[in-house]
Symmetry: C2
Subunit: 435 residues, 2 copies
């Protein structure tokens, strides 16, 4: 298809959805891509690029393949939020190069957006939105909207501003087409506008859009001026990222790992593994202090991994529940002390049941109910402590201003190994004569 006539190719290609165009583009070789740049205008290429995932590492390469002016034109035709995502991946020198080739106004907007701190509303908003004035009639407003419709990322929510660009109201396009032409915007607009502040965290923005079932939310600055909008499709990406980062935390690995190279993958996982190895060495050192006890009663060694493993599992459960509870911003009245108490009590109950089970199993298996009692007691205490740690540590991190999700499962497990072993041998030492 790509090897020949421009016209039939363009006709076929442009009838595809942008996402499918992008998938096609990603499947091409460098040479084929270069042909495509000749076939398509910067604006058409911009539509395609809107659909390329922002984390794609090769975007930089793609831009370099293009004529510089073509690339700059394409970037300036894109919605500002996506153009900024691409520019952020470039070296500062490259950013400047492309920005210099753009129309001044476009470049200025992009430069402003590049300044916003990572993960704030400002950094993900787009500046292409439709707005009208409160004093307009519907007819006037509709004419304005039609004029803005080409540029704006969405025209389904239309924001109403006053002379100073302050946000004073909102209307949906649906409301607008249902009303008669001569009504005043002021009389029909909604005055309680759900908006977000430009420095607000993107996760909070996601919660707002999700809770209120919005298609877009306006972004305002300190003076309540409308500076941008964030649309729901960008929020879905934020929610996906958030889930991936929570998941990564729980497993102590970047789950979005894109490399196919085992050396690169290992080099990213090893820092965690080695850190945890040294934490684990603490447990080994502790056991070595009880070595003489183990050589007297080697049966004790049989149950070390059972107790540490089970306590670790209980700690992981507790951790996961606590991290999700903390992430649930809806729950404004989050009562941290209550959460810890609940996890403590849950750990106690789980520990009692598990302890009882293992008491019976070990007692019958080894014909030694005193050994069973020691294992059971150790299990009870170790599970309780692990459950407490599983809720306390993420809570502490939250309080200290860290993301509680980075308190990973493996970290809790390794930490609980240490306490479990200590509890186990301390209890066992009192009953040593019975084994």
């Amino acid at each position: 298809l790509n090897k020949g006539k421009i016209k039939p190719f363009r006709k076929e290609f442009l009838s595809l959805h942008n996402y499918d165009q992008a998938q096609f583009y990603l499947s091409l070789s460098e040479e084929e891509r270069k042909k495509l740049y000749h076939f398509l205008s910067p604006a058409e290429m911009a539509d395609l690029f809107e659909e390329i995932e922002e984390e794609n590492e090769e975007t930089e390469q793609y831009l370099k393949e293009m004529n510089k002016q073509y690339a700059a034109d394409m970037l300036s035709k894109m919605y500002t939020d996506n153009a900024v995502d691409i520019l952020k991946q470039l070296e500062v020198a490259d950013q400047q190069k492309y920005l210099a080739l753009m129309p001044k106004e476009e470049a200025g907007e992009l430069i402003d957006l590049l300044d916003y701190k990572q993960s704030t509303a400002g950094s993900i908003m787009t500046t292409e939105f439709a707005f009208i004035f409160a004093g307009q009639t519907i007819k006037e407003a509709m004419a304005d909207i039609k004029r803005q419709a080409q540029e704006a990322e969405t025209i389904y929510y239309i924001y109403v501003v006053d002379a100073e660009r302050k946000l004073v109201g909102v209307l949906s396009l649906r409301d607008l087409i249902l009303r008669s032409d001569d009504e005043l915007i002021r009389d029909i607009m909604g005055e309680r506008v759900i908006s977000v502040h430009i420095n607000e965290d993107q996760e909070d923005v996601a919660h707002t859009i999700r809770d209120y079932d919005l298609l877009a939310v306006p972004v305002i600055d300190e003076e309540n001026r409308l500076v941008g909008i964030i649309t729901v499709d960008d929020i879905i990406d934020v929610i996906d990222e958030e889930a991936a980062s929570d998941y990564s935390g729980l497993a102590a690995v970047d789950v979005e790992e894109r490399t196919e190279n085992p050396f690169v993958a290992a080099s990213k996982r090893l820092p965690w593994l080695i850190t945890l190895l040294f934490l684990g060495m603490g447990t080994s050192t502790l056991i070595s202090r009880y070595e003489s006890m183990v050589s007297t009663a080697s049966i004790l060694a049989v149950f070390i991994s059972l107790i540490t493993g089970t306590a670790g599992n209980a700690g992981t459960q507790s951790l996961a529940v606590a991290v999700r509870k903390l992430a649930d911003k809806d729950n404004e009245k989050k009562n941290n002390l209550k959460l810890i108490f609940k996890e403590l009590a849950t750990g106690l109950v789980s520990g009692l049941v598990t302890g009882l089970v293992i008491f019976l199993v070990v007692g019958i298996w080894q014909h030694n109910f005193i050994l069973g009692f020691v294992i059971g007691m150790a299990m009870l205490c170790a599970i309780t402590v692990a459950s407490l740690a599983g809720s306390f540590i993420p809570l502490l991190m939250d309080r200290l201003g860290f993301d509680p999700a980075v308190a990973s499962g493996p970290f809790i497990t390794t930490l609980s190994d240490l306490t479990s072993v200590f509890i186990y041998f301390t209890i066992a030492s009192y009953f040593l004569s019975f084994f």
Copy 2:
């Protein structure tokens, strides 16, 4: 506010966003809620109920507080997808009761929707959508849309059907208002409609909406007839659920646990804990077979937890990466064998580095480099095997048609304990004379 005059209360209350109304409602006592039912019409109450989370356990209680006819009216005024969510939580007898009190047409639609299998497109779609015919002019179509606008959940995408209700095209409201009145729908509509099938899994629907950045997607049946739409706000809920269920899998606990009661919480976590306990007993049994070896060389006991722990951590990392890769439906050409090889190689590299580190640390610490070599070798093998298991097991589950996310971290950890211990003691047995 609630204790007095209807009019000022209604004025204030109805000016709130439905989500805030719902939050207010949820904060009320039973008596206050009952007052509210008198203050608001079923239709107003329906708007509020759209915003109450579907998993709220108390919804059943709320319905019981209402007059039966009031509840039925409210349900029939709600968007069908949300009404179905509520009905699904009720006993069949209660469902019948409310359905019997509804207008026949409404009840029929709800009954149809209740029949769709859980988690399919059919079960989350709404039947309130705007549609027009290909032969209409824009003017005729706009009149149709205005008529449908009150009912439809969204009118921003308008679907075009033929005389048999088959889906033939799509238009956005934006396109529509930008064109002149006498153009024919047929000439301006998009003919490549992205749609989903009624039996498609809701996660696939979520991927479609996310990839194509849609606000809604049409649902079609076997004969290509348009039967409903799914809007982006419902998809956000699906994505949230999906993330929570992946997270739950990794930690072997239902992270959405809503109970505050530690007994209930423990009873939900214990099945996993006890299952894993018995799996862990396997490891203990294995160690007990080496008990005589441990009593000769008690230093071996010191490193059991270090080796099992580190291998477990590596297995968890590998698992999390594999589960995410499998969930990524974009990746059509997912090469399973390649994934396993990559994880195997990554495990080998990680194992080599970790093994080398522990060889040096143990060698220096214990002044015994042969012991260091045994621990290091065991570490290398155990990490490699755990990484392999971490990718192989979810892949196997995927092949067998299970959700790979239920292969939980604790399960992999406990399983890898068993293999790690076996590897460790097997290697150690060859070098026993040196300790």
